[in-house]
Assembly symmetry: C2
Homo-oligomer: 299 residues x 2
């Protein structure tokens, strides 16, 4: 596949990002963050999570938040849903898109959601069925695609299998997540090659963490294979839950800078992204974490 002329950025900061920040952000700030991201031109903005508040206290207000969303035409606001109960809550709140998640690693699945990968997929089958019957699109996340904090190596075949099953259940897109950021470009590319041999490449998104600084190099290597959907988090929100203080999600503004520099369209305003990055850093009471924000505020 050719290098893409256009890339869709999936902004995960308001959910994946904020749920891994120490500080809890008020609903009003989360709504303003989401609005600013839409204003900046992002067209998929992960808004919240219906995972139990016991596990993710930062997302307790998601039902309220989804009801109050100032929806922009053409923008999707997916919410994370762990099971049928979560789906009920998402439907009741009026969510327009949901996301489900499974690990490529058995050890991670057991530690994280206390069941095997197969059990987690089985649990999602009725969620997908009912969501699709209600006209709700479903995005699928596969975590630990290039390594696991508990079992170490993860077989490419395991990623291919989970991505294939989520696709077969009806996910319109599969996001391949390097949850602990250990992957390097040739491994990332081999993974994309393997996955796209069994599901269409245009349904494959990549989700890299910058813990070891590899995210942009990995993204570039995957763009060269024609990948055209990239997950990222404004200001690098989220950090790394497995190495406190380390970098986590790649920052949206760093990704957009690279894409713009290569003439790849994103429809996103870099200046507005940086303003938004500084806005949420202020709300969290800490310095911004992206290279772009640091370079622009330095001097």
């Amino acid at each position: 596949m050719a290098f893409p002329s256009r890339v869709r950025i999936v902004e995960v900061g308001p959910r994946d990002g904020l749920q891994n920040e120490a500080a809890q952000v008020p609903t009003g700030i989360r709504l303003e963050l989401i609005d600013r991201l839409g204003e900046a031109g992002l067209r998929t903005i992960e808004a919240g999570s219906f995972v139990s508040p016991r596990w993710v206290p930062q997302m307790t207000d998601t039902a309220d938040l989804v009801r109050r969303l100032k929806r922009r035409p053409g923008v999707a606001y997916p919410v994370l849903v762990p099971n049928e109960k979560g789906l009920d809550a998402a439907l009741a709140a009026g969510a327009d898109e949901i996301a489900v998640f499974a690990a490529a690693s058995q050890a991670f699945s057991r530690k994280n959601i206390n069941c095997s990968v197969e059990e987690s997929l089985a649990r999602f089958a009725p969620v997908l069925e009912r969501a699709l019957a209600n006209g709700i699109r479903v995005r699928g996340y596969v975590s630990c695609v290039l390594g696991c904090p508990y079992q170490g190596d993860v077989a490419v075949a395991d990623v291919v299998r989970v991505a294939g099953e989520l696709t077969a259940m009806g996910c319109y897109e599969i996001s391949l997540g390097d949850t602990i950021g250990v992957g390097t470009p040739l491994a990332a590319r081999r993974l994309v090659d393997a996955v796209s041999a069994s599901i269409p490449l245009q349904h494959v998104a990549v989700h890299f963490h910058d813990t070891y600084g590899q995210a942009l190099a990995n993204i570039f290597a995957c763009l060269e294979r024609g990948v055209s959907v990239v997950d990222s988090s404004i200001g690098g929100l989220g950090g790394c839950p497995y190495a406190k203080g380390a970098t986590g999600n790649v920052a949206t503004e760093d990704v957009v800078y690279m894409l713009q520099g290569m003439g790849v369209e994103t429809g996103v305003s870099l200046d507005r992204l940086i303003e938004t990055s500084l806005f949420i850093a202020r709300a969290l009471g800490r310095a911004p974490r992206s290279h772009l924000a640091m370079a622009r505020t330095a001097g």
Copy 2:
């Protein structure tokens, strides 16, 4: 050219890095840093500079340092030389290799060394001639290859011309420096393509800054063209002189992590690099700046 199976890292931390740090480091610490880098497996370690102490006070002790170097077999310790007077000092101290530098940008050359690019090259001609006559190898740096803090855009043709002239004068290797870190992977690769159309690719090194987070992606894009020499700075020493507080030189340990992950040999021990990175951060009294050091010390 094929993806390289082996890459030579040119470690620039003890010179390019430390000369851009606010704190001055005692000669003994610089000697220990250089020794630790050699112990880690690096085979080219830029040791110091004979540029006037008026401009670079951090390098005042270079003559003393070169005399006291504990030389390891097979390791080169180049020193930066600005003119014939600098060469005299380097020869007197017993330097085994020197480096000369020119900008691809006229505006940068005038601001930085107060003469045109052509004048700077003419000034280096007798330096090269005498160095080579004394059996001293000469490395050439070209700065501002993907952008200039004063003139903005820099023409690829200007980089090609300066790289070609330095090669014609006898430099064994040309390091292409993105001094302000603005380049992105496709631009970096186009530059390598243009330069290697006029000088042999094996004489081309790349020198990226991480100011905008692009360094590893740029390096990867150039490796794909067969580039096999990469400049980097332990712990990201140096910062960015044009944006105080921002990231500068790409960190050696981040580069080596990427290369190891891709099965590219470097001959360098990542664990020893990280120890060395923590050692020099302690000596400077600040936190380490590389992704690897941050991830390894987080928790």
